[in-house]
Every structure is written in structure tokens, then in C-alpha cells.
Amino acid sequence: MLQFPMWKNVAIVLVCLAGLVVAFPNLFYDRVERSNDARASLAAGAAETPELAAEAAGWPEFLPSGLVNLGLDLRGGAHVLVEVQTADVYAERLEGLWPDLRDRLRDLRDQVGTVRRLESAPDELRIRIGEPSGMAAAEEAVRAASQPVISLTGASGRDFEARAEGDVLVITLSEAEKVAIDRRTLDQSLEIIRRRVDETGTREPTIQRQGEDRILVQVPGIGSAEELLAIIGKTARLSFHPVVNRTTDAAATPGLDEVVYPSMDEDGVYYVLERRAVVTGEQLVDSQPTFDQNGLPAVSFRFNPAGGAAFGRYTADNIGKPFAIVLDGEVISAPVIQSHIPGGSGIITGSFTPEDSTRLAILLRAGALPAEIRVLEQRTIGPELGQDSIEAGRRAAVIALAAVGIYMILSYGWFGVVACVALLTNIVLIFALMTAIGATLTMPGIAGLVLTIGMAVDANVLIFERIREELKTARGPARAIQLGFEKAFGSILDANVTTLIVAVILFMLGSGPVKGFAVTLGLGILCSVFTAIYVTQMIIAGWFDWRRPKAITV
């Protein structure tokens, strides 16, 4: 009656053993981690050095080697949440439409007259035509240029829309195209950020999209969020432009198809440049930090064949004229072309520090972000704090465990000992589950674990209190124990389901560390129900069968 059937006992023991096996590498965290890292880099093709081999051998291969992930707040590192300004790309997309539309309209010159582009808000393109009577033909010609957009929802449309306002043709992007741009921009940004972070060689970075237009980057081990932002925050759009004029007048009015950019190093100096770039960073295939002939830090670059050809042609035709190297709307430098530069490679000089040139080379190599990003949240956790937190958490857990254990044993005697075994099993199982599902342990997560130590005994308390009550009325201790377990079950279930509801909601709505808390709380509830009910009952039933006591005290 009290005893579970054999298969159930075996299952319970197996679950506990499996938990122990999966969880125990966490006791040797450093050793296992170093061994895992060494193995991973060997597998990735790193040269086998004696140190690497020794580290890899630090943990026997036949033993399980899974570990609980430590959250950023325990490991130290940087956390940055950025928003990709996808609207920038809309303007660019419209800008890109103009040459084609202009050509199409000019082909219809006898119907629409002169074609002129008007100044407008960045989210539309306004074109005035000379002959309002030709508007219908103009609209038709423009619409013919639009492309279908294939979207996931299937609700496909054209990529842009045209409407007439008097003699002005207004072009706007369609919603479907905007959605497609958003998705593409975010995907590209994710990819570029990943490449840049990987270039820095930090281990286990997390780069995730969040919501519609956000990217979360977490890099353990990096010194500060500012350092991380220096790498991922820059758009890094490089282009080479012919210089029209050099001026100190910030309000210089550029001519048509010209732009004014400030100099990066010289205060108050501006360059008027042709809007159209000769070559852009997109045509770069490589970039490395280097030094110029004077031994100053510089960045070398190499173009792909098309870019190299364009660059070669331009330098050949414009010897003696300056051209500007522009990065994110600032002129790095504007050297005078000394000679024809064939082969498509060269160096960029400016007033760089060695760190600057290394960073710029990384940025150019990884490519430009398709749009600017804005920082929403940046957090740095120093490595000291992380280590302290782990120590503090461990201490709190041990003290809580000891105190609760002593209290339970004082209150319930032998039954209290059983509850302690259940509690320890519970903690092992929580760690095993976290290791198995790859959950992340955070500081609030540790707090949740310690809290679980306090709350998990509740199920046992409910059972034991019930057994005490039943002892007064029931016939014999066996019956009392059985009734105790049976009757406490409903309360345990209700109490834990309601708490589980809270944990699930916390998990869904919480972010970062709070999510970590929800994970340990939720797993703690699940495991505590298992250990308090099954493990406890199995041990007590086994003990009862063995000792057959005439009377028990709880």
C-alpha cells in the first residue's frame, strides 16, 4: 500500500542517478570549462600545443561535461541592446529609385515635358513634370518600373506606389516593401554585428534579435559596454569621393549632386564632395592594420576586381587632384592623387592610434551596417563583481541549506533527515535540468535557488504535519503515513500550480536576470514536487518495511 510498485522505485532511482550524473561536472566548473574550451579549439583546427593538450586532458573524456551557463552578471562582461534605424534604409531605397525613374520619364519627354526632382521629406520622392496633361502616362511609366514584393504573409504588392498631386508625382514605398526592408535590414545588421564580434575573438557571445527592430548583444569577458559599442556601434560606411572644394564655411551650400562633410581631425574644415562615390566599402575584400612610410598607424585595403578597376581608372584620370576618404559622413583624409593606382589596393592614413587602425580594419573587413543603430540599453558587469556574486551565492546557499536542514531534523527527527535527502536531491535535479536544457544561471537565479531551498520543504512539511494529525486518529502508523501522503497531495498540487503560474509569467515577461530567476524558481517547483512526494515516500516506505515500527513519532 505504502510501497510503490517495483518499476516505479526503479524509475525514481534512475531519475535521481541521471540527475547526479548530469549535474556533477558543475562541481568542477573551472576545470571542465577549460577542458571544454581546449577541446573546442582543437576541434576547430587550432594547432596542438602542450598547454592546450594538458587543458583538454584536465577532464576525462568519458565523463559528462555539460555545464550550467553562467549569466553575464556572474561572469562579467557587457550587455548592449540596440535599435536598428530601419527608416534610414527607406530613404536610401527611394534615393536609389530616382535615376531609373528619371530615365523612364525622360523617354516620355514629348508627353510629360521637363522632369525635375523636388526637395521632400525623406520618406517620399517628389517629381515635377512640365506637362500636367501627361500625368497619366507618367504614372503608368513609373508604375511599370515597380517590382512585386514577395512577403511571408503572401499579401504581396508592388514595392512602391505613385500618386499624382497636381503636376507633382509622389512616390512612396509600400507597406509590404517596408516590412521586407525591415526584415532584410535586421538580418544584415545581425550578420554584420556577429562578424564584428567574432573578429574580436571573445568567447560565447550572444547575438539575438529582439522584437521587430532590436538586437541584443551580450559578450562575456569584454571590459566594458563602451568597448563593445566602439566595435558594433559604428556604421562603418566607407566611400571614396572626388573633392570639389575645401572650405571652412559650415553652411557652404553644395551644388546639385554634391554634399558637404566635415573633416574628422581638423576642426572647422569642411569638404564639398561629389555625391556619387567612385568606390565604396562594399567593394572591399580585405583590410588590415598597417603603418605608412612614416611609421604611423594606417589601414590597408584591397578592392574586388570591379572596385579595383574603377579605382584604377579614376586615379589614372585624375592625377594631381585630391579625393576624399569618407567614413560615416566624415572625411578621414583627402590626399592628392600622386599617380595611377592599379591593382585596387592602397592604404588609408589619418591621425590614427594603433587601436584605431586595428578597429577600423575590423570594421571594414566585417562590412558596413545597413543602417545606423541607436543604443537603448548598455550594461557592464566587472569580472570582480561576477566572481564575488558567485561566492556570495554559494555561501548563502550552503548556510540556507544547513540551517533549514537542522531545523527540519529538530522538528521531525528521522522524517526530517528524509526531507533533507529530498532537498539535496531537489538541488541536484535543478542543476541537472538547467545543464540539460542549457538554461542560464544569474544572480537573481541563485537567489531563486536559495529561496527554493526554503520553500521546497513546504511539501514535506505538509505531508509530515498531516501524518502527525492522522496518527491521532488512524489505526496504526502505516495507515497514518499513507493517509498523510494521500491527503497532503491536493494541497501540494494546488499550492505549487499557483506558484508555477507566477514563474511562467515571470519567464515570459521578464528580461535578462529576472528570466534567470523565473527559470530556477519554476524548475525548483517542478523538482520539489517530484522529490517531496516520490523520493520521500520511497525512502519512508522502504524504511517502514525494513524496521516495521510499532509506533512512530513525527
Binding site: D73, E83, S224, A225, E226, A230, R374, V375, L376, E377, Q378, R379, T380, I381, G382, E384, L385, D388, S389, A392, R395, A396, I399, A400, V404, Y407, L410, S411, G413, M443, P444, A447, L451, I453, G454, M455, V457, L462, E465, R468, F489, G490, S491, L493, D494, A495, V497, T498, T499, I501, I505, L506, L509, G510, P513, V514, F517, A518, L521, T553
Partner: protein
């Protein structure tokens, strides 16, 4: 060997005697908290307010005025410095530096870099332990998510209790949860402790603990209602409370033991969290009796439990009495 018993085996405390008095106490607590929130408000952390918070430590104690002087010259706007205790046993002197609600338009990086540089120049051995910068856009969303989390959990619990018990119990349970959440937040307003994301998690933990406690009492009430069909409701409740008293005390104590371990030994990061939950465990235990129990007493319940309620998953009691 005699076991430790904090509560005698049989008690007959008349818990439901002064319900009116306790109702007033609860109301004062809730209304007082709302009043505090309206007048004093909360000391919102960077999570909810936006801005930058820097946790720094020096080996020797530096007067706060020195910190302020050093930071006043950085030119990052108004700077607040407060001391915090370091209970991780490292013997460091820690401060929290709050840079004004930095406009994140250009990112907080320049201000943080400037502060870092100024600090390491003034105190060569300074450790920057933690830096948090949150922009206004995100902080607004975090506030909404926090609210939503609390509301959703109330709703989820109410539905569950309603299914498992009766609607009167669901109302009682949710009223007690609202009481606990408001009073806990009220204490943060009263003491002007920093209110951040972790505290929202703490409030939800309190909600989880409180409902746990309430459900155990309700469960016993339901059982007794089936067992003693003629006993007045008030006595049924008193009996249930007395029968579960030992367990209530036991579980609150083990939970409090764990919480004090966190409070004293876990360092400043989860200090506020532990404080909130310690307070909440006390109110949660109180509200299970005097808010949840009293509400059910006041609303009354159906007494005919002879037909097993199909929605109540487990049935026991009755027949075995």
C-alpha cells in the same frame, strides 16, 4: 527524542474573532501605501527611470564629498553618490553613482567613459564593478512589462482558484494578493529603497508565496466544509487555520531562514530583493488569514458539498470522517 514544536499539537485560537479590526488594519496598510505612492512616489532605479548607474569600489574609504567633487568636474550633469554596504566580505568601500537621466540619443558611452577616466585618475585603485545605462524608451517598456506581469499572474491565479474551488475563494485569494503587492511596494516608497526590475521579480515571488499559503488554508477549509456539514462557517475556518497553523509557521520559518541567508550573505545585488521577499512573506502569511480568509467568510460559500464538484480535481475527506 522529543521533537522541536513551536506550535502545540492542538490549538484553538479564534482567528476569525477580530476580523473587523484586522480589516481596518489591512485597509490602512493598502490606502496608506497608495497614498505614499501618490505623494512620495518610488525611488525608481535606472531600469525604470532611464539614466546611468555606476557601482564603484575603493580599497580605502573616501568621503562622499570627495566623490562628488571628483564627479562634479566631469561635466556629465547632476551626479548623485550614495554609499552601499559591501557584505561580500571583501572589505571594500562601495558607492553607487547615478548620472542624471542621461539622454541616450547619442548613447551613454561618452558620459560613462568620461566618468571612468575621472575616477581612475582621482582614485588609482578604483574598481568599476558595474555600469547600467538604460534609455527612456526601454525603461518605459520595462515599466509596462512589470505591470503586465503582476496583472497577468493575478488573473492566472484567480482563474485557477476559481476552477479548483469556488468563486468566493478566487476573490479572497486575489484580494489578498493585491493587498500584499500594494503593501510591499508601499514599503519601498516609505523607506525610499531603490525600486528596480529585481524588485518586480520579488513582488511576484511574494505573490507566489502568498498564494501558496492561502491555497493550503483554503484546501483545508474545503475539506472541513465537506466533513462538518453543520458547523458554522466561522468555526470551520478557525478549525482549518488552527490545523494548518503548525505548517504555516514551519514553512514561513524555513523560507525566512533562506531569505535571511540571501539578505546577509549574498551581496548588494540581491539585497533589495531579499528585503522585499522577507517583508512579503510576513504580509503574505498575515493576508492568507485576514484578507483571504476574512473575504471568504464575508462572501459565504455554498455548504452543500455532498455532490462532488466535477471541477475539483481531487476529492478526499468527507467519507472518511
Amino acid at each position: 527524542m522529543r521533537h522541536l514544536r513551536l506550535v502545540p499539537d492542538v490549538t484553538s485560537i479564534d482567528f476569525m474573532r477580530y476580523t473587523r479590526f484586522w480589516l481596518i488594519v489591512s485597509l490602512v496598510g493598502v490606502i496608506g501605501s497608495i497614498g505614499l505612492l501618490a505623494t512620495r512616489g518610488l525611488n525608481l532605479g535606472v531600469d525604470f527611470r532611464g539614466g546611468t548607474l555606476i557601482m564603484a569600489a575603493t580599497p580605502e574609504e573616501q568621503p562622499l564629498s570627495v566623490w562628488r567633487d571628483v564627479l562634479g568636474d566631469v561635466g556629465v550633469g547632476e551626479v548623485g553618490v550614495t554609499e552601499i554596504s559591501d557584505d561580500t566580505g571583501q572589505g571594500r568601500h562601495m558607492v553607487l553613482i547615478r548620472l542624471g537621466t542621461a539622454d541616450m540619443e547619442e548613447g551613454a558611452a561618452p558620459a560613462v567613459d568620461a566618468t571612468r577616466a575621472a575616477l581612475s585618475q582621482a582614485f588609482p585603485e578604483v574598481q568599476i564593478l558595474q555600469v547600467d545605462s538604460v534609455g527612456g524608451k526601454v525603461s518605459g517598456e520595462l515599466v509596462r512589462a512589470g505591470f503586465l506581469a503582476v496583472l497577468l499572474s493575478f488573473l492566472g491565479i484567480m482563474v485557477y482558484i476559481w476552477l479548483r474551488f469556488e468563486w468566493q475563494f478566487a476573490i479572497g485569494a486575489v484580494l489578498s494578493l493585491i493587498h500584499d503587492a500594494i503593501v510591499t511596494v508601499g514599503v519601498f516608497s516609505l523607506l525610499q529603497l531603490e525600486f528596480n526590475l529585481t524588485i518586480v521579480a520579488a513582488v511576484l515571488t511574494v505573490v507566489g508565496y502568498s498564494i501558496n499559503d492561502t491555497v493550503v488554508v483554503f484546501d483545508r477549509m474545503r475539506e472541513n466544509l465537506r466533513k462538518y456539514k453543520k458547523m458554522p462557517l466561522k468555526e470551520v475556518m478557525n478549525l482549518a487555520l488552527n490545523e494548518t497553523l503548525s505548517r504555516t509557521i514551519m514553512t514561513s520559518l524555513t523560507t525566512l531562514i533562506a531569505l535571511f541567508a540571501i539578505y546577509w550573505f549574498s551581496g548588494p545585488v540581491v539585497h533589495g530583493f531579499a528585503f522585499a521577499v522577507i517583508f512579503g512573506v510576513l504580509t503574505g502569511t498575515y493576508s492568507s488569514i485576514y484578507v483571504a480568509g476574512a473575504t471568504v467568510l464575508w462572501l459565504g460559500v455554498k455548504r452543500d458539498w455532498s455532490k462532488p464538484d466535477a471541477s475539483a480535481g481531487t476529492q478526499f475527506g468527507g467519507a472518511k470522517a
